[in-house]
Subunit: 279 residues, 5 copies
């Protein structure tokens, strides 16, 4: 590709690091470097830790949430979102800046951008699907459902692009790919087939309404996996239940490849320091 | 999924980190950081080690057992269970808190929750299976067997959810997945087929009654593998015998993917310190 | 192969480290070793850092650009090009020389050479393709298109071999292979088929003219992947858009294997030090 | 499995860590931590090293042999066998105990148990095989061969369970699995087919009688691979020759998956220290 | 295999570490541990470095060559050959002995033995191939070609077993396996087919006579890959050209699996120290 725009194309936006629609999203997982800690963190380090997780307004990202993480790999994790990628990464940099950085190691992270997936039905596709499922195209019921979807869609898309984080105690985080192996190649399937599989997959999630809330962000071209999944749950039981149930959906069973899973529990800076016994 | 419960659904439980049925389960494997040990552990560190493995009642988890581990990767390991995930993880955090944490490195862990698998037959399915195997539906023998299973099932499920740990000297620990590769995709098999394979697999285990006891906990949505297997054995010979035998079951031969194996021998804190020659 | 040239062959060029056509290309990604930084970098180290990224004319490579990198794996990255491989590697060596090298760790790099791919159509192949697409071999339109391509080709090839780096804020970097697994073996496909797939793949890129500019360099025989992809973008949104779109091209969907992805934002030495809070 | 023995079964042996038939076997590979060695090992560390490899009688395992290892990954390796797993592991623990442990890192190990494989023919199977190969069931020759095998078998099995280590200068060590991928699944093959393949495989070895001696121990349920192979050779040439030849046996060509290979040369503690220039 | 030679076999050679035909070959790649270098290497370390690469005659191996290596993984590399494996490994041990070993880390190595491959045609096979390609068995031309091959073969085999290293500036090093996956299993192909593929593969190399010289050594039974490839080139361009060309040969396209690639440039000890800016 030559870098030369067609002379008849719409004028291109100014160069920018701010996406047109979505937000940058950073998932960061850390452990305390106990091997370097002959003693608990100094008050200076404790202050730096708390400040990094509660940045002053002028550098605060739009969203930030913290969790202590189960298991030996990570002690705590963050999810951060903002239109500006530098603001997202600045949280990470604040945490590992000297002197606290001597005692904290990043163990995994994922860089992604929020978006409205191509599989989210437009009003038209939503209407067509109802008709294909047997609805009468002229019925008032159909019109009412379509109208309701039309009212709901902007709010749902807002939640996809600029989500509020639920206040639930448990969450899990994992990246995934769609497979491209011979015999199970998602990317050679036609859109209609992929769309149908994704619609069925979405149905699996509806059974968990009120129990689990999900956010899918895109890592394609940005990090080592294609998508990042964030699941917030009212109870950790629901995390295993929903992921287990969804694993049987053909979109997952046949096509999904999963990366590392981290499970965590909502906790502020103080709770993390206490749980980890480092002060 | 929208996070909005259906208005007609049963009211949802309060947000909590305590599972409704199972217990949180943590497997932790560690090595002593000999590279940092110019001398044996100080008395302070020895005290911290022993205290971490025998926590006071108010923070003690429901179950905890410790093992010295064969081979160079890990020196010792723990299995911990409790309804509260913070109590499970606190054992880990106590062990690696300053100053002992300078000399201990977590090398592997697994986060899971206990459950009654969908393949455990209900009373009805148990009865149906016997009939399908030729039992007379009206016979007293069938009724007796069903009644016995009905009496036994609550106890067996209790052992699955809140197990007593046997006092045997040997144990092995490993995680596993069911494969989803083209040609061997467990998750696209119908339940009836999976259930049949799991029943046959269970038969393999029955030959080891009194020799091996197993616990299967669920890592789906929580950690990098779908299941965690704990085998306790009267003799380490039986560990290799049962795993070898089961590898030929179609559920394993065709569909199982295995993670790292750790073999260990029951040992208290003092025995671990002595075996590892670190005090 | 015997090392003995045929007596009738053209005389061989003198031994040299300078490629006949392309330039050596180095991609380097680094993190600051926060574990060793009780305090910010000393002025001496800051000076070394800035000098390494702005070398004096006599050792400066033909091209060099720097980026801060999102996520925990790398803090910053470089792309360097020059006919002399020692000049490319010298940038890396300057950065990690004592004393700054105590605080910088190379986390990933890729060694490649620029080239004009065998899939870039010659004038003749360009003309044949137009005809095969329906153009009249004798038409003035065809002649004009071929003449235009003939004028453009040297400039395009110059950009492939000795590219100017665009001044856009975002970039992503990743290596790739063409797969050789049974059922999807790129290297057993005839040239005509590979060429057709690559032409379609190039079409996907044309939609991003003015938004994304790419450089493909060759790692075959030099590093662990066959090709290195550098994408520069006017906005990070376009990075995910183009890579996602291209993933459906059969050349990618069926045959591409991807290595690690790094996304970064154009930044000079000072901006990197500030963003990373290390001075 | 319930852990409850059948009331009619033979009484179970007492819980024990001592296998009924085989011995525990440990393979350990180490490197000297040159990064921590500003000077050669102190006399105290040299003494610890030599003592660990020549333990006093009361803690000495039944078998122990040491080798210096070629290449950068490991400097030396041990193979240790004993009925008691704690005695095997104690050799490892003695080596890495303070203060020597500061300067030695375990880089790989394997935990296994010796056994008589199910593919070793019983007297009956040996006789049947000869007949199936054309021997006359009533011939004196057949009877003589069977009688000879009957005399030899106990000694051969003793060597499998409690082997003498040959005094040859070269050895190689590697673990392996039998594959379970679709299209090459060892564990879904019937015993008769597996047995035939293993018999052919054994034939490949016979050509190396006097040149190579092998020991196969079982890691199933104990470590990350199913089997551990130890080959002792009169000359390192034979190591590559036998492994290359056997790779064409269908049991290997189609079904074997190999882990890391270590090649070493018989050496006592002093020779290792001298070869590694650490004192 | 029993270790008992047949009573009628030729007497076995004495146990030895010296191969009958080939030489031991070590490839070693290192980086300077900049994290430990607050200052350049001391004169003592510089002296040790230079001495290790130019050992005195009594311990000097038959062949040794050194290279600085492009990219972040390794700073320099060595290829060493000798009949005695201890002499090869001693070069490595000299380099990492105290005190220099504090500042040098081995990052990759490969252990192999040189040999004349089974695919090198004997005189007879060479003659048969010419005839099968259409030569007249009685022609003088055929006789002349066979006679020339007969004269050349000992020299070519000498170069395979005990090669002179060319004085060219560029080299690349990589290990490889022949695949054994279902659908592409080299080891289940008959010799005639493998031999034909290898002959075609050799043809690809002939186009690079005078530009590239290769050495193939055997790692089967000795290290983690089956073969090690060393390519020396008059220009680094030829490295990518030959490896790219050969990748389309069916022997590579379908059956080759490649390990890490290292590309380097011929350099003595002084040049390495200067290029790496460590003194």
């Amino acid at each position: 590709m030559s870098g030369r725009p067609s002379p008849h194309a719409a004028p291109l936006p100014e160069p920018s690091t701010i996406p047109e629609n979505g937000w940058h999203c950073g998932h960061f997982f850390y452990r305390f470097r106990r091997e370097a800690m002959a003693a608990p963190l100094t008050p200076e380090c404790v202050t730096q830790f708390c400040a990094a997780l509660s940045p002053p307004d002028d550098v605060a990202p739009e969203r930030i949430a913290s969790y202590w993480i189960s298991g030996h790999e990570a002690d705590f994790g963050l999810i951060v979102m903002d239109p500006d990628p530098a603001k997202v990464d600045a949280i990470h940099q604040s945490l590992i800046a000297p002197p606290l950085g001597q005692f904290i190691e990043g163990v995994w992270s994922f860089v992604s951008i929020s978006e409205v997936s191509e599989y989210v039905p437009t009003i038209e596709r939503f209407r067509d699907r109802l008709i294909s499922e047997g609805a009468d195209p002229e019925s008032d019921e159909l019109k009412a459902k379509v109208a309701a979807y039309e009212r709901r869609l902007p709010m749902m898309n807002e939640q996809r692009l600029r989500p509020e984080f639920p206040d639930w105690p448990a969450a899990c985080f994992y990246p995934m790919n769609k497979s491209r192996v011979p015999g199970a190649n998602w990317f050679t399937e036609p859109f209609s087939h992929r769309n149908k599989m994704m619609a069925e997959h979405a149905q699996s999630g509806i059974a968990f309404a009120g129990k689990v809330s999900q956010l899918i962000t895109v890592g394609v071209g940005l990090d080592d996996w294609e998508w990042m999944v964030t699941l917030w749950a009212r109870n950790p039981d629901y995390l295993k239940d929903i992921v287990y149930k969804m694993r049987f959906d053909i979109a997952s069973a046949k096509y999904a490849e999963f990366g590392p899973f981290y499970v965590g529990y909502r906790a502020g800076a103080d709770e993390i320091l206490d749980h980890c016994k480092v002060r």
